[in-house]
Symmetry: C2
Subunit: 301 residues, 2 copies
């Protein structure tokens, strides 16, 4: 599982700070999460192949999370993309994008599929053989979702020497990987655990931005491998959290602790601060494993 | 008159090329012309004060000419702008912007005034004491205007020694600047030309992008001080001009020559080319005074 941060600052793009956008590589997918203005240039800068992006998840319709999307969609069109593009976003986005494509008299030459979200409950919005994606309802000034990306249970690993010794026909290997006991060539029942090993535990990534401190998300993100939680402010500016519906670094850490996640990544920093070590220090008073998002940085888990 | 190029490339923004946007400083105005994705960052990079921009002119609704506008409008809001902002753009833009502001639940706290354009004739769209702005109807794939920015006739300059020698009361200075003859303190008629000098000739700037080669614009831009004309392609790719409705460098130069402008600036280069000296050379086979647009470059006239 690999996470590349394209932008991790709040509000307005500047020469040295970029609005929210990130790419999650999980199993064979490259999921783009949020797409602030300029994200397509950051994708290029980080050498992420446009053609590998097939699913884009938009948390909410504040500009710093989606103003770069229409440009990316247009660029895909100019580059003669043919592959389907799926967009998961709050209701309203489809209208914005289609209006702009209509005005420019250039509908995409590839299928553009909108999955508009409006539920206040966590829901499964994507599933294939290897990954499931759920929404995480957040509390912000407008309708907002985080997203939980979960690998499915991996298959058991064959202990190939034990399998050969047990004289099992290759036709049963698939069943073994799925955990079943099988009959060998001599008609004897072979217990699965004798010839396989436990699978690699599935990983999960929870993206939570933007949101007020909200314990209701804890059961949804419980035990996630990685939690990216917004920390727009430091505790000294906590009074700004309620009116703007954002969180402090400490609040992000409290959520990480309650949810017993493995790693917390802080991001969505207000540009009022110079340097972000203070965010890490503040969060570490509550939670032990804190990382700072940074534009152009890739994390591997 | 000062022109700063924020972006001068066609189609998609890249790490080292920016879509169309430029700032024209003329008299006391800072006019923003087009606003491709990322323009607000380029304004910052070029240290152009946001508060000085009060009028934005959008040529057409292809993304590389306006996808940065909604972000700029939002940033002005976040920075607590109070001054009116006027936007001159093809019909449709108001709907796009208002829809996006509605979805983000954040109308601007400053007055946002749209002047929607739909005429196929050149029309006066802005006028104050010092400047007039006219549309220049262009031929592109969708409804498109260039813009002609014209200084008004400047006032005559007082020859202050002659004025004092002629014993003229200060109350008449304004009339002298306007070209009138006046009566001096001794009751004698003083001919204007004896005590004033010709004014600085008014300057004008014609912005023409995007467009097919179109001689119909020649009378409108006749004798302009500076013509910025798109030159998406070189002559060797001229066959692309008709389907895409763009021009070559040579065609831009032909327009400059026919319109007898003083200076031609080429821009809106396709990113298919490496280096742009070829554009200058090609245009110089037709027209004598050719400059190349370049991101971050400021021209003074």
């Amino acid at each position: 599982m690999k996470l590349t941060i394209l932008g991790c600052h709040s509000a307005t793009p500047r020469t040295n700070t970029k609005p929210t956008s990130q790419v999650l590589e999980i199993k064979n997918h490259m999921f783009l999460i949020d797409c602030g203005e300029g994200s397509q240039v950051e994708l290029r800068r980080n050498k992420i192949k446009f053609s590998r992006i097939k699913h884009i998840f938009i948390s909410h319709l504040h500009g710093d999370h989606y103003f770069g999307l229409v440009g990316l969609i247009s660029t895909f069109h100019l580059l003669r993309r043919e592959t389907e593009l799926h967009i998961y976003a709050p209701k309203g986005l489809k209208e914005v994008i289609t209006l702009q494509l209509k005005l420019s008299n250039s509908w995409t030459n590839y299928p553009l599929v909108f999955h508009e979200l409006s539920s206040d409950e966590s829901e499964l919005i994507f599933e294939d053989d290897s990954v499931k994606v759920y929404t995480i309802p957040l509390k912000h000034r407008i309708y907002t979702n985080g997203f939980l990306f979960k690998e499915k249970e991996n298959e058991r690993k064959l202990n190939i020497n034990a399998v050969l010794d047990a004289n099992i026909n290759v036709a049963y290997f698939r069943k073994l990987k799925q955990g079943a006991d099988v009959i060998n060539e001599d008609g004897i029942l072979i217990k699965n655990e004798l010839v396989t090993q436990d699978p690699v535990p599935p990983k999960s990534y929870a993206f939570c931005s933007d949101t007020l401190y909200n314990e209701a998300i804890v059961p949804i993100i419980k035990n996630a491998t990685v939690l990216y939680h917004e920390s727009t402010f430091l505790e000294k500016n906590e009074s700004l959290c309620v009116p703007t519906k954002h969180s402090t670094a400490k609040q992000a850490a409290l959520i990480a602790k309650k949810a017993e996640v493995h790693t917390l990544i802080l991001g969505h920093f207000s540009t009022r601060y110079m340097g972000y070590e203070g965010f890490k220090k503040e969060a570490e008073t509550v939670f032990h494993h804190v990382l700072l998002a940074e534009e152009g940085k890739t994390f591997e888990f």
